[in-house]
Symmetry: D3
Subunit: 61 residues, 6 copies
């Protein structure tokens, strides 16, 4: 039943996402004693002008 | 005041979304005794490589 | 695969939530042509001091 | 540590977003007594057919 | 129409939250040229064992 | 910069959460080539009457 939402900076490849969801699902199953079919993951790509830290857009850094 | 966020797989038409928000708003008003003007809905389209279940991207299934 | 998140003001009964998730699931299935077993819903109760509109906490209205 | 997510209607310029994250970060630092480097902000652009109020898509208004 | 979600560490007073929503609403109105009645804010309190950075729970720091 | 939100059913121990955030952070660092200090994780506990699948509250199953 765990539902995961991950915001990541735009530009990741599908290969990176494929590895990411496999490894994150494993990490959850090991820690919470659930089976992988219970784990849903939503990825969201953030454009550099849609993320800010310290009051500044990432695209301005 | 209910605020709804719905993640759906990319590819839904505007007609489907129009029906979706009308029906979901009705469902909420009937269940929670609120008026429709209080209900906000955010839709987010998920590309097939941005959703995973069972450790696999949906685009790989 | 639709994943729904609903923020509602605290104080709803379990009966109201039971009706809510049944009706919202129906609304989604009718609009998007998915089966109910694909629909996940997360409810979150907002305390009145954790929701604001027009710059004011709901608990101050 | 505050993490902020803001959904805004599509069409905002990068200049508007730059001002937005600077001012929101300030607002948080003044209210919660944290330093700006602790504040993360995610912006998400909503297409007009991906936001609804009162049971209607914004694109239909 | 901007909808804001803010995760903050548990322990903030209602007075701090009152100031926070007033100032954040102002910040948004000034930056995006919207009126305050359009701005909704959801606050969520994070227990120290429900937030992690650098692979560690905040309660362990 | 990855920001992770995980909804989990209520009842997990702090030990389980400690393992979870350590392993999920590792999984992200290995997949996306970021350092652990860039990874933030928010956990949210869902009461059984606040999660539904197939139109039914989890507390009714």
């Amino acid at each position: 039943m765990p539902i995961v939402q991950i915001e990541l900076l735009a530009g990741r490849t599908v290969d990176q996402k494929r590895a990411l969801v496999a490894k994150v699902t494993n990490a959850i199953c090991e820690s919470l004693d659930v089976t992988p079919d219970k784990v849903s993951i939503i990825l969201r790509d953030m454009e550099y002008h849609n993320y800010a830290k310290n009051g500044k857009l990432f695209s301005d850094k």
